[in-house]
Subunit: 180 residues, 2 copies
C-alpha cells in the first residue's frame, strides 16, 4: 500500500493530479450553499477514531475527469464477519464519483448507481478505486469505477453511475477556481 501511495504522490507532483483534502462537511466544498442545520456531518467522515471507519485519500485529474482513491476500510465497516459491508463499498464509490463529477460540474445529483460485488473485501485490506467519466449526454454524466486490491491482482467490485448535471451552464474549471 505504501508503494501505491508513493506512486500516487509522484503522479500528483506532475501537476496533472491533485490530492484532495478530506472534507468533514459538505459546506466546506460547497460554500455557496448557505443552508445550515446545526451539527451535521458528511457521511463518509462521520466515524471518529483513527483507522476504524472510512480512511481514504483521493487524487483528481480534473482535465480527464478521473479520480484515484486509496481506501482502507476500518473494522467499524463490517458486514459479514471479517468482511467489509457491501453498503460501505457502495458509499465510498458514490462519494468518490460524486467528488469526481463535482470537480468539473458544480451541481450534480446521483440518479443511478449499479454495482457488481465480485470478491469480498477482507477486513484490514486496502483497495484502490479508479473512477472516471465515460461520456456526457446532455445533462447526463456517465461514470464507471473499479475497486481493485492495491496489488492489482483482484477485482473486488465494478460499478457504473449516472449523475444528472443540474445546471450545465455553470461549468467549473480549475482555472476559474484559481487552481484550487
Amino acid at each position: 500500500m505504501r508503494r501505491q501511495y508513493r506512486c500516487l504522490l509522484a503522479m500528483a507532483a506532475t501537476g496533472a493530479w491533485a490530492r484532495l483534502p478530506s472534507y468533514c462537511s459538505a459546506h466546506e466544498h460547497l460554500p455557496e450553499v448557505l443552508v445550515m442545520l446545526g451539527d451535521t456531518r458528511l457521511f463518509l467522515c462521520t466515524i471518529k477514531g483513527a483507522g476504524v471507519g472510512f480512511e481514504y485519500t483521493m487524487f483528481l485529474n480534473a482535465a480527464e475527469c478521473s479520480l484515484h482513491c486509496l481506501f482502507q476500510p476500518g473494522p467499524y465497516l463490517e458486514g459479514h464477519p471479517s468482511l467489509i459491508h457491501g453498503g460501505a463499498i457502495t458509499a465510498i464509490i458514490d462519494g468518490m464519483l460524486g467528488t469526481c463529477t463535482l470537480a468539473v460540474a458544480r451541481k450534480v445529483m446521483t440518479a443511478n448507481l449499479s454495482i457488481d460485488y465480485l470478491v469480498p473485501v477482507p477486513l484490514g485490506a486496502a483497495v484502490l478505486l479508479d473512477g472516471h467519466a465515460e461520456r456526457l449526454e446532455g445533462r447526463k454524466v456517465f461514470l464507471s469505477c473499479h475497486v481493485q486490491s492495491v496489488e492489482g491482482d483482484t477485482l473486488h467490485a465494478r460499478a457504473t453511475c449516472l449523475f444528472i448535471w443540474l445546471d450545465p451552464t455553470e461549468h467549473r474549471t480549475r482555472e476559474e477556481d484559481g487552481g484550487r
Copy 2:
C-alpha cells in the same frame, strides 16, 4: 411517523410479522461464524449518539420473505447540504435486503445492487423501506425495494438486488429457529 410505527406494531401483533432486534455486530445474528478480529462493528450500527446516524426498526414476514423498515436518517448521514447522502440510502437498502434474505437462507452474499435515486431525502425526514424477494432462480435470489416517505406520497428511490445463496441445502425456517 408515529402513526406508521403503530401500524407496523399492529402488524407484528398478528404474528405474521416479527420486529427484529438491532444487532451491533454480525456475530450476534451469525453466531456459528467464529471469526473474531477484535473490536469490529456492524457498519449500520457504528455511529454512536442518539438519533444522529442510522436509526431504524425492521419488521420481517419470513413466510413471504418481505421486510418493512422504518428509517430515520440522522444529521451525520449528510451528503449535499441538508440532504441525506446517496451512499447512506444504499447502505440501509443493502442491509435491510440482506437481513430479509438471511432470514430465509443462512448464507448469502450481495452480487449486484442497482438503485435509482428519484427524489432526495431531506435531513430530518423519516422514510419507509419496503423490500421483498421477487423470485428465486437456482442459487440466485432477486429482491426489490422501494423507499417512500412515511405519508406514502413520495417515492424517493427504488432498487433491485441480487443475492447469491451460498448453500441452498441449508434452509432456515422460523420453526427450526424456535420461532425467533
